[in-house]
């Protein structure tokens, strides 16, 4: 992977223009417009139900937006099938781990790398030097799963499964990595490992992160977008966001009058 060229740097990694999504009566996303620069670390905050995961799903292509356009490194992908977006360099994780419970860690990481490399219909066993296999092995070390490399996914602990979730997204050598609450359910120690991992990612990978854990979010993010009720409320640097009273009200519910006790 090469560092983004100069021309690429001018084009946002991800550009959303007026994106909306409606489920029946529910307007899950409203007129979301945002641009994420190549190499940027962006955190998206907001209370439950603010539309963060819906935003991820729309960007990843699980379902199309009902309005607006999406560009990935300058290519319009608004109605592109999910697997084709992945081959353009977009990978993601899920809030609820989406893993292959019947496979091993090794197979999962191999599959994750194979998806963007071709040879998906090969009826041969992978060679030891297969780049997807080699990369999978590396990733396993990166996400601290080296010791359980040959174990079945179903037998991993919750924390290990969360790490594998991130590992599988990395195995596709993404240009844009979208992480949906990667720290959910992790212990304190595991969270520290996760922060280290996020920080160690090469800067040519653009990262968008939904996270409830402000420690994780602020430690990893260059800029923060706050959403509520499907719309973007405010966007700014971590410092600006922390100082923003609207955000505090939304996020912590402090606007709701006096406290007991």
């Amino acid at each position: 992977m090469t560092v983004g060229s100069a021309s690429e740097a001018l084009v946002p990694a991800l550009q959303l223009q007026g994106v909306g999504r409606r489920f029946g009566a529910l307007q899950a996303l409203r007129d979301v417009t945002m641009a994420v620069a190549p190499g940027e670390r962006r955190a998206i905050l907001g209370p439950n139900g603010a539309g963060k995961t819906t935003l991820f799903n729309v960007v990843a292509g699980d379902f199309p937006p009902t309005s607006g356009t999406i560009h990935l490194y300058g290519t319009e992908v608004t109605h592109l099938q999910p697997h084709l977006r992945t081959r353009l360099g977009l990978t993601r994780t899920y809030q609820n781990s989406q893993l292959f419970m019947g496979l091993t860690v090794a197979d999962s990481l191999y599959l994750a790398g194979r998806g963007v490399r071709g040879g998906r219909f090969s009826m041969l066993r992978p060679r030891a030097a297969d780049p997807a296999l080699v990369r999978g092995r590396e990733i396993a070390e990166t996400v601290h799963l080296g010791e359980v490399y040959d174990r079945s996914v179903g037998s991993l602990s919750h924390g290990q499964q969360r790490q594998l979730e991130v590992g599988m997204a990395l195995a596709g050598n993404p240009r844009l990595l979208m992480l949906d609450e990667p720290a959910a359910g992790l212990s304190r120690g595991e969270r520290t490992l996760l922060i280290d991992l996020l920080r160690s990612l090469p800067r040519d990978v653009t990262v968008i992160l939904v996270e409830h854990d402000m420690d994780v979010a602020l430690a990893a993010a260059d800029r923060v977008t706050v959403m509520q009720e499907g719309a973007i409320v405010v966007e700014g640097s971590p410092d600006e966001i922390q100082a923003n009273t609207t955000v505090q009200d939304i996020y912590l519910g402090h606007h709701v009058g006096t406290h007991h006790g």
């Binding site: 959910a184 996270e211 402000m214």
Partner: protein
């Protein structure tokens, strides 16, 4: 001293190899109790265990009566009203049908009439399908549905989720009123503001255990605990330098 409304002792839940609840101990008296914690800590599983929707070991007593091992409908009839996360109203039923389905005979306690007085907007939309309601109205319906069981205890899982601030304020008002009726209240929340507004006592759940029990006032004053247990802070924290 009278039995607490709800007394949970050493409650365990396992899914396959995962040990989700690892010996929870908790009591709810006449005062509302809020349970907070980050995503994935087992809060919803605790609700499901109390209401019998997942199998558990240990003890859950409702006014002294053991609930563990009983079926969900028996637990509901014993007096546990459940307001689940995401409301889970029935798409095929109208507002009125929701209420008629659970309403008990007699005029003591909660009746459909009283519900409509409490939630006038439900009365106005009684013929509407439940999914045509706004999020706040659906939440009211979910609460109304539980109240009509005339419960001794109301278990609520993130009722403020996804609601507009003004609606949340109404909700809090409602919950305070319900609590005044003598119904025990276990409120599971991620929103610290809502939790502290409704109840004076707060329990914090971390990876399947009750880590801390404290009061709202103490927790609001303790920035470090907020960050540690909830991953958020109510005030400005020292800037964490973003990696660059």
């Amino acid at each position: 001293m009278a039995e607490p409304v709800l007394a949970i002792a050493d409650l365990n839940v396992r899914y396959g190899q995962s040990h989700i609840l690892q010996g929870v101990n908790l009591e709810v008296g006449t005062e509302p109790l809020s349970l907070i914690g980050r995503n994935g800590m087992g809060k919803t599983t605790l609700c499901n265990a109390i209401t019998g929707l997942v199998a558990s070991t240990g003890s859950v007593k409702l006014a002294g009566v053991e609930l563990v091992g009983r079926k969900p409908h028996e637990i509901a009839r014993a007096g546990v009203g459940y307001v689940p996360q995401g409301r889970r109203v029935f798409a095929s039923l109208s507002v009125e049908e929701h209420l008629r389905m659970v309403a008990k005979r007699g005029s003591d306690g909660w009746t459909i009439k009283r519900i409509y007085e409490l939630f006038p907007s439900l009365a106005a939309r009684k013929k509407h399908g439940a999914t045509q309601l706004s999020g706040g109205e659906q939440q009211m319906l979910a609460i109304a549905r539980a109240l009509l069981l005339r419960p001794h205890l109301l278990v609520m899982d993130e009722p403020s989720e996804g609601l507009a601030p003004i609606v949340v304020e109404n909700l809090i008002e409602t919950l305070r009123n319900v609590a005044k009726e003598g119904v025990g209240l276990l409120l599971v929340e991620q929103n610290l503001g809502v939790a502290t507004s409704v109840s004076g006592r707060i329990a914090i759940m971390v990876t399947g255990l009750i880590a801390v029990e404290t009061t709202s006032a103490e927790l609001l004053a303790d920035e470090a605990s907020q960050r540690r247990f909830l991953g958020v802070s109510s005030a400005r924290t020292e800037a964490v330098p973003a990696s660059s």
